[in-house]
């Protein structure tokens, strides 16, 4: 199945540019399958840019381009014959602010399968139920699937967005600060959900919240703005090692709250 085995994604000497500005410099990292990897670091260190390069969402920014490789199943995502539309289906994304479509809960989730060509109503209903169950939202909404997705609470909206991503059966889920707009209880529920999801999915999460990174992630990557304001990967290791015995003094400074 995969040529790079236990790794879901592998970045090799990845550089990301916005026009002439280099936002991320020489990042190489291997992301293990069925684990949660957290990207932490101060604002402007390029962690969101890095995350968005994993499913080529950065392509949507005018004037952006990438150098280097991101290997997914042995294939370079930035290769010539790779269609970003297909990449984004296999590598789904959950955003900072919950962004359900202004449609019903059902349509929010059925939208993905529909555009992929699934028209069978029975199958769509099954997908919707399965996705909502996986996102731990089914019990909350099963009686009013016709209700607008925007009528849900913030935490429910975010779980709806996760369910929507799951509906197109991705392998990897990218989460860009998924809890920053949520209250602590909703945050805990999302974290719990992430732990359940990693049974079947590989998750990469960007977070500003170091406790969150410590609580949920298996691996942590610490990034920092380096020369010419380009983001660099300082340290990447198992989460408990990063938080207990960081190899780099800058990592230690950051996680102990000495700066950033």
């Amino acid at each position: 199945m995969t040529s790079n085995g236990k790794y879901a994604l592998e970045a090799r000497n990845l550089n990301i540019f916005y026009g002439n500005f280099r936002a991320v410099r020489n990042v190489s990292m291997q992301i293990e399958s069925n684990k949660i990897t957290a990207l932490i670091g101060p604002s402007g260190c390029g962690k969101s840019t890095l995350l968005r390069s994993f499913n080529r969402m950065n392509d949507l920014v005018l004037g952006s381009h990438a150098e280097g490789e991101i290997l997914y199943r042995g294939q370079n995502l930035y290769g010539n014959n790779v269609d970003p539309v297909e990449v984004r289906r296999r590598i789904g994304m959950v955003f900072q602010k919950p962004n359900p479509f202004p449609k019903s809960i059902f349509d929010n989730i059925a939208y993905g399968p529909r555009i992929l060509g699934q028209r069978n109503k029975k199958i769509l209903a099954e997908i919707v139920e399965k996705s909502l169950r996986q996102a731990a939202l089914w019990d909350d909404v099963k009686d009013n699937l016709k209700k607008s997705g925007l009528a849900l609470s913030g935490g429910q909206q975010q779980r709806l967005c996760i369910a929507r991503t799951l509906a197109v059966e991705p392998e990897i889920i990218l989460m860009d600060e998924p809890c920053s707009a949520l209250d602590p209880i909703a945050t805990l529920r999302i974290e719990e959900l992430m732990r359940e999801l990693k049974e079947n999915y590989t998750i990469i999460i960007v977070t500003h919240n170091m406790q969150q990174a410590a609580r949920v992630s298996d691996y942590t990557a610490f990034m920092l703005m380096g020369q010419e304001r380009a983001g660099e990967l300082i340290e990447f290791n198992q989460t408990d090692r990063i938080f207990t015995q960081p190899a780099d003094s800058r990592t230690e400074d950051y996680i102990t709250g000495r700066f950033g």
Binding site: M57, L60, G92, V94, N99, P102, I115, L116, T165
Partner: protein
């Protein structure tokens, strides 16, 4: 008086001292109040001007008129006209048209049989070819009653009593009475005064009436002539919508041709401009990469929205009327609609762009994030959410195009046309131009017709806009 009295004032040297702060706050509040009144005044001014506009139209639409009967009804019979039976009314017609069989025939053709001018021409041609066009044939063709004894006679060679009988058979009592009033008594509106003038300045109107009577007596050499009492007349009547223009009799003037012309033109304009405009906006907002070409196009579109319409008229004349003559057939509705589409295209594009830009980016990202293509994102998310804004722009554009006059003067609308437009390639006139033509007529009563026409124009415009608003609300509801 203020917060600072209870607390110990502790402003540093960087801020003005306490006394100055107090003074400042009073001044700042005065300033705020001043601008509040300025804004209120501008709203009031706007409402007052709108009301004045409406008033000036209403006072002309509903006016007091005096009528002069060209034939005094009292001389026609020994009873008042309203009390005459059907037979007696027919007798009146016969007496009046005794020596004018031709006139009566024309009336029968137009009012009873409803024959078009080409039908009438065809009948005349066949008669000239020594053929007998029978009453039976024509009346039967139009499903009308006809006197049995004249069934086989030529329809253009009946006698006056026969024509009168024809009329009587097809009209009920009321219609017959109306026919006698219109074609025998022939009332003529000889004076018209706006509503407010009549209510406020009766004396000068009485003087005017005396003057009018004097003139009529002099012209007709009949000292007994009298005009009716002034009575209120609404010029906004059904016949305004269903009749064609008549620039000799204001009471009969209708705007049907112009209404049809306007509606037909605006439909084609929208059909052309809306897809083109929205398409251009989608390209500029969603696909364009921001190169110099696109910036140039954008600048041009922004500027084109402010170009005076007469210039579009000249463009339309050169392009659609002259160069593309083979397609548009010259000065036709199609030429006008295409020119108008050019005129409103920038407005539609700019508003659609604004609407598309206001669709939150998070929605696009959500769509891309689950593997939508660009087109799926635009079609399923961007467009539906931008639709209310796009329709708002369209409303503005329709309003502009519907009331536009200068362009159509140049691309060749005609004002004296009485034939309905039959399709995109027919000659035409439009409401604003027709209203202009009415106002420039010498007879004062045409201004009343024009005012009623303006009300009609506003009514049509408002219904078009209402349709767009309903559509917009349906879209905004779906978007939430």
């Amino acid at each position: 008086m203020s917060v600072s009295e209870n607390t110990t004032a502790s402003t540093t040297q960087y801020l003005p001292n306490e006394e100055q702060l107090q003074k400042n706050i009073a001044r700042r509040n005065r300033q705020a109040k001043f601008w509040e009144y300025v804004f209120l005044a501008s709203i009031i001014l706007a409402i007052v001007s709108l009301l004045m506009l409406f008033f000036s139209i209403i006072r002309q639409t509903f006016s007091y008129v005096v009528v002069y009967n060209q034939v005094n009804p009292d001389t026609l019979a020994d009873k008042p006209l309203e009390e005459l039976s059907s037979d007696e009314l027919t007798a009146v017609i016969i007496t009046f048209y005794q020596s004018d069989a031709n006139d009566l025939r024309t009336l029968v053709f137009n009012e009873v049989l409803g024959l078009s001018s080409s039908d009438q021409q065809a009948i005349r041609d066949r008669e000239r070819a020594k053929e007998t066009v029978t009453v039976k044939e024509i009346a039967g063709d139009k499903n009308k009653e006809y006197p049995a004894e004249s069934a086989e006679k030529s329809i253009i060679r009946l006698t006056v009593p026969e024509y009168a009988q024809f009329i009587q058979l097809n009209f009920d009592d009321d219609a017959l009475y109306d026919f006698v009033v219109e074609y025998v008594v022939q009332p003529l509106i000889v004076g018209s005064w706006p509503l407010d003038e009549y209510l406020l300045d009766r004396d000068s109107i009485d003087a005017d009436i005396i003057q009018i009577e004097d003139q009529l007596r002099e012209i007709n050499d009949d000292p007994s002539i009298e005009v009716s009492e002034p009575k209120l007349r609404s010029w906004l009547q059904w016949h305004l919508i269903v009749d064609t223009i008549d620039l000799s009799r204001p009471e009969d003037a209708g705007l049907r041709t112009a209404i049809l012309g306007s509606l037909m033109m605006i439909s084609i304009t929208i059909l052309v401009a809306l897809p083109l405009g929205v398409g251009a906006a989608i390209y500029l907002e969603e696909y364009a990469q921001g190169g110099w070409m696109e910036r140039l196009i954008q600048t041009n579109i922004d500027n084109l929205a402010g170009v005076p319409s007469i210039i579009y008229g000249i463009l339309g004349l050169a392009l659609f009327v002259r160069i593309l003559d083979d397609i548009t057939q010259g000065r036709t509705i199609l030429s006008a609609a295409l020119t108008m589409a050019l005129l409103i295209l920038p407005v539609i594009i700019i508003n659609a762009q604004e609407a598309i830009r206001s669709v939150p980016d998070s929605l696009r990202q959500a769509s891309y994030g689950i593997g939508s293509t660009k087109w799926q994102t635009v079609w399923n998310h961007v467009l539906p959410n931008a639709m209310p804004g796009i329709l708002t722009g369209t409303i503005l554009a329709i309003s502009r195009a519907f009331g536009e006059t200068a362009v159509l003067v140049v691309v060749g609308s005609i004002t004296r046309i009485t034939v309905d437009p039959s399709g995109p390639l027919s000659r035409y006139t439009v409401l604003p131009l027709q209203i202009y033509a009415l106002i420039t007529q010498p007879q004062a009563q045409f201004r009343n017709v024009a005012a009623a026409g303006i009300l009609l124009l506003l009514a049509i415009l408002l219904s078009l806009n209402a349709a767009a608003v309903i559509l917009r609300n349906r879209f905004s509801k779906r978007a939430v």
